[in-house]
Symmetry: D3
């Protein structure tokens, strides 16, 4: 009965990559905890880099700095 | 003081349907737990079918298969 | 495919009350959005009153004040 | 290792305001719990007023009433 | 910068199984999205079977029925 | 109408520290977004270090290593 929420920054994650995340997490829960895939839900949330903070600043800013 | 988060697939849920979900959940919490409606918050999150996985595949794919 | 998370303060919610919340929310999603109950998951999270804040203070304190 | 999720209604929160929320929360966790800012993640979720309910009605409606 | 929340029923998940979930999810995010493991946080939330509902009833009840 | 969820590791956070987090976050939302404190809810979730992973390992392990 697992429910998995994956938050990632919105960076052009492709449909194929989302499919890989979903199948990978579902298989992991089957392998480790024997969870029935038909009861495993996975949600991927894409978050704008302006709305995600790390080290006290927006990821948008953090990336600019690391490129500078 | 309840806080309710409802995740559903993004399938053209109408404004009226959202209003029904909100009033229904709020009434339920009043009836069952005597929770003051002025303290009950409800958030509806609509999730793209590419971002929701079940049985290890995207809901988008799952629906195609069930129609095939 | 709905997923519902209900946060309430930990106040001795009984097993029967939890069952009523679960059946009520599931029925609501069936009635309003025609969601298959077999795909509707509901999680109830009970939160200690020291860990829930409203108006800037802990619910534990808030209740003391309203009784005073 | 804190992770903070801030849900607010989608009301034209500016980039600068988001930056202030992120730096403010991160500083608070450093001051109160000595949490390393490099391990503090903050996510801001903006929720449409049609998708947020309070007192059993949509915030969109609630605001109309309070202006009426 | 991913943040992953895994909700599972509280069924005696062992420490070793939790370690496997954490390493598995982190590796998946590295493989699929090239996410730096030092920025990937994973939280496992164990939920009492009385607090998890599926098909409108508590998982506790659902399991009794499937054994009957 | 903000709703704030703070996940931290379960490390003996005191009642007073929780009160400071709650008042601090509520004040921040008032200062930055003019949010009414009576509508600001804050939930603190304390997560066992075995249930929190970073860099692919449990925080429990990570701390042992950094002390070694």
């Amino acid at each position: 009965m697992p429910f998995v929420q994956i938050d990632v920054t919105k960076d052009g994650v492709t449909r194929e990559q989302k499919a890989q995340l979903i199948s990978g997490v579902t298989k992991l829960l089957l392998d480790v905890l024997q969870k029935d895939p038909d009861l495993t839900h996975v949600i991927i949330r894409e978050v704008e880099t302006d709305n995600w903070g790390l080290s006290g600043i927006q990821v948008t800013e953090k990336r600019k700095q690391s490129k500078a």
